[in-house]
């Protein structure tokens, strides 16, 4: 399944400072749908090059990270259970505090 992942607010520093990643990822063996839970595990294994604790906590994202599926807060789409579809855009953004 083709997805576009975007990292912002400093999270891109965890993946070689690359903000936009066009990826191909398939559901787990024996499972039909690709969920955010599986995608997070995939990202941690394949994209995060350093300090994974700055991206995840347990099996979800760390506090202060917003997750957006097609420009919509993942709290509205089902969080970890969100089912992803072909060409979806998933944004991970760390909230900023500077001024």
């Amino acid at each position: 399944m083709q997805l576009t992942l975007e990292f912002g607010g400093g999270l891109e520093l965890l993946c070689d400072s690359v903000k936009i990643h066009k990826i191909n990822v398939d559901p787990e063996a024996g499972v039909e749908k690709l969920t955010m839970k599986h995608l997070l595990a995939w990202v941690r294994t394949n994209l995060i090059k350093e300090r994974p604790e700055m991206f995840m906590k347990g099996d979800s994202v760390r506090p202060g990270v917003l997750v957006l599926v097609n420009d919509c807060d993942w709290e509205l789409t089902g969080q970890l259970d969100t089912t992803l579809e072909e060409k979806d855009v998933v944004v991970f953004i760390s909230t900023l505090h500077g001024g």
Binding site: M54, C72, D73
Partner: protein, 287 residues
């Protein structure tokens, strides 16, 4: 004063003529603005343009809170301060600049750090709050104070080449704690003073904060509540995304929360976020 019911003097009508000409703003919008009061917390990178535009547009009473002094390394982005004010309090400097563009509005100087001990008293005098601070504990504190007092909060942030903007606690929409119930790890909390910021990035976000505050104050348009603007200056890309609704579980605004003034005053925001409210000066060692 005026006998036309809109509270606009002939001088104001001339000064604000380009607002009055606007069908979607007009006399009613300007009249609402002139009767409104807005508090800007922080006279730094975000506060600088926000304050100048709020003063210029004719907000009736404009409050400025900051305890900091103007330094040379602020001037690359804090365009409200001039070299002549280096060493002065940011509030005095910003207030002087606001008065010089509009002597007809009331400008209130709060030359002190915004703390749980003075927050309720200061904020209760204003209709709308603009968060232009630069650290995590202040953001939680300002949010909670807005929830306790029922004030809409225009929240902006900028760091590096990126900016973020939303309106919290407005018309049933989410508050900061609805989005971020648990503070981030301290290692994830960079400040402009530590990590740098391209000066014009808070400029863009601060202007947008002024715009959202003006929309709320003048009762026009759709404020950015339940939505967040994400700005990436380097690639010139902007996203406006849909946020979650108010959370019934929220410790500040949730159904069973009912945060009281007393609880707010006793809450230790530095301990909660494990971050200090004040910035320590930068040690730069580039050469």
């Amino acid at each position: 004063d005026s006998s036309f019911g809109h509270g606009l003097s002939p001088n104001m009508i001339y000064r604000y003529s380009r607002h009055l000409l606007l069908p979607s703003f007009g006399v009613q919008g300007q009249s609402n603005l002139v009767k409104s009061s807005i508090l800007v917390v922080g006279a730094g990178g975000l506060g600088a343009p926000a304050l100048l535009y709020l003063a210029a547009c004719g907000v009736g009473r404009l409050g400025i809170v900051d305890h900091d002094i103007v330094e040379l390394n602020n001037l690359h982005r804090q365009i409200i301060h001039t070299e002549a004010y280096i060493g002065w309090s940011k509030v005095e400097s910003a207030a002087a600049a606001c008065r010089s563009v509009n002597s007809t509005i009331q400008i209130v100087e709060h030359k002190e750090a915004f703390r749980t001990s003075n927050a309720l008293e200061i904020m209760s005098k204003y209709d709308i709050v603009v968060d232009a601070t630069d650290n995590v504990p202040s953001r939680y504190m300002i949010n909670d104070c807005c929830v306790v007092l029922g004030k809409p909060l225009v929240s902006g942030a900028a760091l590096g080449m990126e900016g973020q903007l939303t309106v919290y606690n407005y018309n049933g929409g989410p508050c900061y704690r609805c989005l971020f119930p648990v503070p981030p790890p301290t290692t994830a909390c960079q400040r402009c003073s530590d990590s740098g910021v391209l000066g014009v990035v808070p400029g863009v976000i601060g202007c947008l904060q002024a715009l959202e505050a003006i929309k709320i104050a003048s009762v026009i348009g759709e404020p950015l509540s339940g939505r967040m603007l994400l700005f990436d200056a380097l690639s010139a890309r902007i996203r406006i995304v849909k946020l979650r609704e108010r959370s019934s579980q929220c410790k500040a605004c949730g159904e069973n929360a009912a945060l009281t003034q007393q609880q707010f005053q006793n809450f230790d925001y530095e301990k909660f976020t494990q971050s200090p409210l004040s910035t320590s000066p930068l040690k730069l060692n580039l050469l």
